[in-house]
C-alpha cells in the first residue's frame, strides 16, 4: 500500500475532524501502546471522507434472549455467552471464537451433539482443512473505547458512540454526572442504542465508556437487555395470512346463501354473520323491521336461529350434574319438557341462558347464547372433569349438526299441520314448553315449542345439510300466510316487548338473577354454582340495579341504547347515575318506543319519573314501568 502511495500512521488515532458542511481534514495524534493517553504530535490530514472500522462483537443476542448469562471476556475485550438456561449452544463467532478452524470444530461438535440428542447416531466425518493459523497470528483486539484527550470528557470535541442517535462520550459522562448511573438509565437518558441498528454499532462502546466514567470494570457495568428481534421483523410477515378475509373465520349458517339472495343485511355476532333484517326495495331498516315485527305478531314469520349453541347431555348422573350448574328444578322436569334455564358464575353473576329440554331419563339437550356456545361447553366440561369426575355424564356439542328454524306467529301451527308430518301439532298434544321428535316434510326433525317472541312459535331443529330444503318448503307452504323472514333486529324488538333479556346486552357480568327478577328460577333447597355468592352483602343491597321497563313520558323519542339515567336534570359532576338503557326500540305493534333498563332499586320505583341524560345535554323524562310491555299474561304463546 505504501508503494501505491497510501500513507499509514502506526500507533495513531483520529482526535478530531474539521469542516463545516462536510469533512475537510482530520487531526491525527499518536498514542502509546497502553492507550492510556495521547502523546500529542498533532498532524492535520486534508481529506473529505473518514471511514471507521471497529472490531467484531459476538452476536450474543439469541443466547441472552434464551435466558443465558453474558460474561465479559477481558482477553478478547468483548461479551461472550456464559451459562445457558435452555437447551442451546453458541458456536463460532457468536461464541467469541473468531478463527476459522475454531468455528469449524465447534460447529461440528455441536452438530453431532444435537443429532444425538434427537436420537440419531451420526456418521463420523471430517471438517474441511482450514489451514491452521500459527499461534498468535491474530492478536486480541486492543480496545479503544474513546480517545483519552487531556481535557475533561465533557469538554472533548464530539466523539460519537451511537452513530444513529448521535450519542457522544460527553453525553454518557453528563448522564452519570446527573445521577443516571445504571447502564439502563444511561441508555434511556442518552438514547444510546435506540437506533435501527439496535445498538449493534455503539452499545458495547457506550457501556465501556460508562465503565471508564464510573471507574468500574466493564463486567460490573453489564449490558442492557438484548431485546428481540435480532434485526427488524416486518409486521406483514409476522401477521402472515391472517389479514383481510382470513383475519378471523367468518362463520355462516347453512342458510346463509338464502339470506344473501333475499337481500339481507348482516350483523356481526362474534365470528358469525347473522341476518339483521331483510329490506325490500325502498325500505330502510326501520320500515323493514316494522314489517317483519307485524308479520310475526299478526300472521307468520320465519327466522334462522342456527347460531345458538347446542349441547347434548347423556348419562345416569345427568340430572345431578345439571342441578349443580343450572339454578332451576331439573329433577322435576318430565320427559319431553322444556325449561328456560340460567347458569351463574361462582360469583353469582348471570353467565348464560338458554332452553333445557329433557329428551329422556338420562338425556338432555341444552341451548346457549350464540356468543356463549364455546364458553359454556368449556365451563361444563371443566366442572365435570376437574371437580366432579365421579359423575357419569357425557357432553357432546351439536351446534353445527342442527340448524334451527323458528316459525313464529298465530299461523305457525296451521302451517305445520298442513305439511307432511307424523307430529301432532295440536294444542293438546304439543303444549307450550315441550319438545317432539318426528318427521316433517320427509326429514327427521326435533321441534321445540318455545317462544322468544311471545307468539305461538315452534323452533325446528333439522340436520344442517337439509335446512335449506326445509326452509324453502316453509317459504312455499307459508305463502298463503304471508310468511316473512326476519332477522336479529326484529327478534330483539319482539323479545324486548315481552321483557325477555339478552345475556350480554341487558346484563354485563355484574348482574345477578335477583337483579333480573328471576327469583322463581332459583331453587331454594339445593346448592348450585354461584348460589353462595347471592347472599353476600353487596348482592343483597336494596339499591342494586334491577331490570325494568321505560316509557318516554308522552314523547315519541327512542332513547339510544346505553343512555345513562339520572334522578333529575342538572347537578354538578359527578352526577349520581341510576343506571342505563340496555335495550331500546320502536315497537311497531304498540306504536311507541319501549326500552329496558337496569335501574337502581328499579322495581320499587315503578311509576316514578326519572330522566334520561342524552349526550346532547337534554334530559328526557321517562317513566319506570314493568319490563313486560306486551301480552303480560303470556296468553299468545300458550294458544
Amino acid at each position: 500500500m505504501r508503494e501505491a502511495g497510501v500513507d499509514i500512521f502506526h500507533g495513531c488515532v483520529v482526535a478530531g475532524v474539521s469542516g463545516r458542511d462536510g469533512v475537510r481534514s482530520v487531526h491525527v495524534v499518536s498514542m502509546s501502546a497502553g492507550a492510556g493517553a495521547v502523546n500529542g504530535g498533532v498532524k492535520t490530514v486534508h481529506c473529505d471522507l473518514l471511514v471507521m472500522s471497529g472490531g467484531w462483537n459476538p452476536a450474543v443476542h439469541l443466547h441472552s434472549q434464551a435466558g443465558g448469562r453474558i460474561e465479559w471476556d477481558d482477553a478478547r475485550a468483548c461479551f461472550v455467552p456464559g451459562a445457558v438456561r435452555q437447551d442451546h449452544v453458541s458456536v463460532g463467532a457468536c461464541n467469541g471464537s473468531f478463527s476459522l478452524d475454531a468455528c469449524l470444530e465447534e460447529g461440528k461438535q455441536a452438530g453431532l451433539e444435537a443429532a444425538r440428542a434427537c436420537g440419531f447416531e451420526p456418521v463420523p466425518f471430517s471438517t474441511p482443512e482450514a489451514g491452521r493459523e500459527p499461534p498468535g497470528a491474530e492478536r486480541p483486539l486492543q480496545p479503544l473505547w474513546s480517545i483519552p484527550l487531556p481535557q475533561s470528557p465533557l469538554r472533548h470535541p464530539k466523539q460519537f458512540v451511537d452513530y444513529q442517535n448521535d450519542t457522544t462520550v460527553a453525553d454518557v459522562y453528563q448522564a452519570v454526572q446527573e445521577g443516571y448511573r445504571n447502564v439502563e438509565h444511561v441508555k434511556r437518558y442518552t438514547a444510546l442504542g435506540f437506533g435501527t441498528d439496535q445498538g449493534k454499532m455503539g452499545n458495547i462502546n457506550g457501556m465501556a465508556v460508562l465503565a471508564e466514567c464510573l471507574d468500574k470494570p466493564v463486567a460490573e457495568v453489564g449490558t442492557t437487555t438484548f431485546r428481540p428481534p435480532y434485526t427488524g421483523a416486518g409486521f406483514g410477515p409476522c401477521a402472515g395470512a391472517a389479514v383481510g378475509e382470513l383475519y378471523d373465520p367468518v362463520r355462516k349458517t347453512a342458510l346463509h346463501h338464502w339470506h344473501e339472495a333475499a337481500g339481507a343485511e348482516f350483523e356481526v355476532v362474534g365470528q358469525w354473520l347473522r341476518p339483521w333484517y331483510y329490506p325490500r326495495e325502498g325500505e330502510g331498516m326501520h320500515d323493514a323491521v316494522a314489517r317483519e315485527c307485524l308479520a310475526a305478531r299478526r300472521s307468520l314469520a320465519i327466522m334462522d336461529a342456527s347460531t345458538l349453541g347446542k349441547i347434548e347431555v347423556h348419562g345416569p348422573d345427568a340430572v345431578t350434574f345439571l342441578e349443580r350448574i343450572y339454578t332451576h328444578n331439573v329433577a322435576g322436569m318430565k320427559n319431553g319438557r322444556c325449561n328456560y334455564g340460567i347458569m351463574l358464575g361462582e360469583d353469582g353473576m348471570v353467565m348464560d341462558d338458554g332452553v333445557m329440554a329433557r329428551l329422556g331419563d338420562r338425556h338432555f339437550y341444552l341451548t346457549t347464547t350464540t356468543g356463549g356456545a364455546a364458553r359454556v361447553m368449556g365451563w361444563l366440561e371443566q366442572w365435570l372433569q376437574t371437580e366432579w369426575p365421579d359423575l357419569n355424564v357425557y357432553l357432546t356439542s351439536v351446534t353445527e349438526r342442527w340448524s334451527t328454524i323458528v316459525l313464529a306467529g298465530p299461523a305457525a301451527r296451521k302451517l305445520l299441520q298442513g305439511m307432511d308430518t307424523d307430529i301432532d301439532f295440536g294444542r293438546k298434544d304439543f303444549p307450550f314448553m315441550t319438545v317432539r321428535s318426528g318427521s316433517l316434510a320427509g326429514v327427521p326433525v326435533r321441534v321445540f315449542r318455545v317462544s322468544f317472541s311471545g307468539e305461538l312459535a315452534f323452533e325446528i331443529n333439522v340436520e344442517s345439510d337439509l335446512a335449506p330444503a326445509l326452509w324453502q318448503q316453509f317459504m312455499a307452504a307459508g305463502e298463503q300466510y304471508g310468511i316473512t323472514p326476519y332477522g336479529t333486529e326484529t327478534m330483539h324488538v319482539l323479545r324486548a316487548e315481552k321483557g325477555f333479556v339478552i345475556v350480554g346486552q341487558d346484563t354485563d357480568g355484574s348482574v345477578t338473577p335477583l337483579d333480573l327478577g328471576m327469583n322463581r328460577l332459583l331453587s331454594k333447597d339445593r346448592d348450585y354454582l354461584g348460589k353462595r355468592s347471592l347472599v353476600r352483602p353487596d348482592c343483597q343491597r336494596p339499591d342494586r340495579k334491577q331490570l325494568v321497563g321505560l316509557l318516554c313520558e308522552g314523547g315519541r323519542e327512542s332513547l339510544p341504547e346505553g343512555t345513562q339515567l339520572v334522578e333529575r336534570p342538572g347537578g354538578a359532576p359527578p352526577v349520581p347515575k341510576l343506571g342505563h338503557v340496555t335495550s331500546s326500540y320502536h315497537s311497531p305493534c304498540l306504536g311507541h318506543p319501549i326500552a329496558l333498563a337496569l335501574v337502581s332499586a328499579g322495581r320499587a320505583r315503578k311509576g316514578d319519573v326519572i330522566h334520561a341524560a342524552l349526550r346532547d345535554g337534554r334530559h328526557v323524562p321517562i317513566k319506570v314501568v314493568s319490563p313486560v310491555f306486551y301480552d303480560p299474561k303470556g296468553e299468545r304463546q300458550h294458544v
Binding site: D527, R532, S533
Partner: protein, 83 residues
C-alpha cells in the same frame, strides 16, 4: 411459546390449550356453611407464586381433557413428573 405435554395427545403447541389457573382448589362441600371471608378466599385468593406452580390446562383444540401440570413461573419450564 410453550410446548405442553397433553397426557393423552402428547406434546403440542401452547395455542391448542386453554389455561385454567391454580390447581387443587376444591369447591367447598357446603358453601352455605362458610363465612363471607371463607367464601371470598375460595373465590378469589390465589397463591400466584414466583416459582413452582401447580396449574390446570385443557387441551381445548385437541382431546378436550383437563389436566394438571407443575411449571416454574419464572423459567416457564414444566416439571417432568406431574400429571
Amino acid at each position: 411459546m410453550l410446548l405442553i405435554n397433553c397426557p393423552w395427545c402428547g406434546p403440542r403447541d401452547e395455542s391448542e390449550f386453554g389455561y385454567g389457573g391454580e390447581a387443587d382448589i376444591t369447591r367447598p362441600a357446603d358453601p352455605d356453611a362458610l363465612t363471607d371471608e371463607e367464601w371470598a378466599d375460595y373465590l378469589f385468593m390465589r397463591k400466584n407464586p414466583r416459582g413452582l406452580h401447580r396449574e390446570q390446562w385443557v387441551h381445548e383444540h385437541g382431546c378436550r381433557r383437563w389436566f394438571v401440570l407443575e411449571r416454574d413461573t419464572v423459567t416457564y419450564r414444566f416439571s417432568d413428573d406431574t400429571t
